[in-house]
Amino acid sequence: MNSKQRVTQAFSGAGYDRLPMWYGAEPGTTQNLLNFLELSSVEELDDYLGVDFKTIRPRYIGPELKRYPDGKFDTMWGIRRGGGHWGIALNTPLAHAETIQDVEAYPFPRPEWFDVDFTEADKELSNSYCIIGGMWSPFWHDAMELLGLEKMFIALKFDQALVEAVVDRAFDFYYTVSVQAFEANPGLIDIFWFANDFGTKKNLFIDPRLWRQLFKPKMKKLADLGHQYGLRVAYHSCGDISQIIPDLIEIGIEILNPIQVTAANMDPMVLKHEYGQDLIFFGAIDYNEILSHGSEERVRAEVRRMIDILGYDGKYIVAPSHDLMMPEVPPRNIWALYDEAKKYSSAQVSAASSIA
């Protein structure tokens, strides 16, 4: 059974040999893990861990984006970032925008800056792996960074048209490139996985009524797009998004990531009970405490626990509860996660089929 088949079968609830697994990390984290396992490439790592997914997104081929000696770097949004890892936005290009014309005049990224075509190597991967594609599409974050948080929040209450103007342009960009990616590579992409963080550790970042008005329709457009091309649709949001999970199901989200279990109202047992019929869960292995600070044995125990809670019906992709592991995570714990998931999940499936 190859990875592509494994994922399809697991989602259907039968005929799979173990649960699918996904890996995502900062380059520094991956290097630590490669060193720990004495491997020399990401491809080797994926095979060694048993990762079932490859992410092939449109590639940036636009104007050169500067990287600075002090670690800062420029992005295609006209923003400079710094402060470690993906960092924070250090400037606010639309801080002085007052009108929709001001927004329209801003040089947003252009779809032609992206090459969407799968290479021969990509097509080869698509034969045996489950392929994640389309644009990540964090248009909420881009809009927030362009306007600045204070201006965004004040505008959300007093000048929604301004917010919508920025969000629309950011959204349209991602949507256009995603369409192009799906058009150019028919049948090669399995999952359209996109993201916008709307949760905090407790509650949503913004009023759910506002979210339903301003952002839900856009999320629905993305979900519809994925379905139009025959893809499954996966959505990422950190934090406590419990209040909008029914909305996400309603608009066609099938896979939910990363299930930040330490956030309020994100108890995996409750979520599986309430939404297990409608959602495939993706993530949930606690990153904040267990992966970052726990012993190896604790990691392994948590993996078994989560597989029992979320994966008994196949509708679970094993992964950390944060989509980008940082270099502080001990490589031993990362290895333990995948090793235990593979062993335990295989054993569970074998046991179940021997009873049947």
Binding site: G82, G83, G84, H85, G87, I88, L90, L149, E150, M152, F153, I154, L156, K157, T200, K201, K202, N203, L204, F205, I206, D207, N288, S292, M326, E328
Partner: protein, 211 residues
């Protein structure tokens, strides 16, 4: 234009209305102290309470804080003239190596709304700068924020530095930020932590023994 309308304006995050109402209410002879204690502080108290309850969200909290700030600008000269004392100074900053400030800014606004005077050191603040600020301002509380698991260790370092400089006993140390837990706060020797800006005023007042 009255205490009630100022309260409502702050609660609704209306900065312009707050300024107009404060101006009119002062002109009508109501004292700045009364406005502070019967409109501003209760309004921000209620905002924090509603946020903790999940009825208000981060944007609402921020615009209410901005409205209160706008009102405070007008009240400050009168408060200074009347010799009104705040609960004391809070020296606040994001620790060394960390540039994140949204949470810290919200906390500063909420503490000001609760009646503290804020000395905001900004971001990427070294232990030395914290020490200098404590020596200069003699705050009741030192607030430290970190968003990254890598930079939160600088909180512990700064606390140790305060101890070495003989300042630790003179202040209450309040720490916060997404990766900060009660357990971490206790382990590194802080006096307290608040989960978010909505609850920080309550925790801060508790630390200094105020109502």
């Amino acid at each position: 234009m009255s205490i009630e309308t100022i309260y409502e304006a702050i609660l609704n995050g209306e900065a312009k209305a707050t300024k107009a109402d404060v101006t009119a209410t002062l002109a009508a002879g109501v004292s700045a102290v009364e406005i502070l204690h019967h409109a501003c502080i209760p309004a921000m108290n209620q905002v924090g309470h509603l946020f903790e309850n999940g009825e208000k969200f981060v944007p609402e909290m921020l615009i209410s804080a901005k409205a209160m700030e706008a009102g405070m600008e007008l009240l400050k000269p009168h408060l200074v003239e009347a010799g009104v004392e705040t609960f004391g100074k809070v020296v606040i900053g994001t620790v060394a190596g960390d540039l994140h400030d949204i949470g810290k800014n919200l906390v500063a606004m909420m503490l000001e709304g609760a009646g503290f005077e804020i000395v905001d050191l900004g971001i990427d603040v070294s232990a030395e700068r914290f020490i200098t600020a404590v020596q200069e301002h003699e705050p009741v509380i030192v607030g430290m924020s970190a968003l990254l698991t890598t930079t939160m260790t600088a909180i512990g370092t700064t606390i140790d530095a305060l101890a070495e400089a003989g300042l630790r006993e003179k202040v209450k140390v309040l720490v916060g930020g997404a990766p900060v837990t009660e357990e971490f706060a206790t382990r590194i020797g802080a006096d307290g932590t608040a989960f978010d800006a909505g609850s920080v005023a309550r925790v801060a007042k508790g630390l200094i023994g105020a109502a």
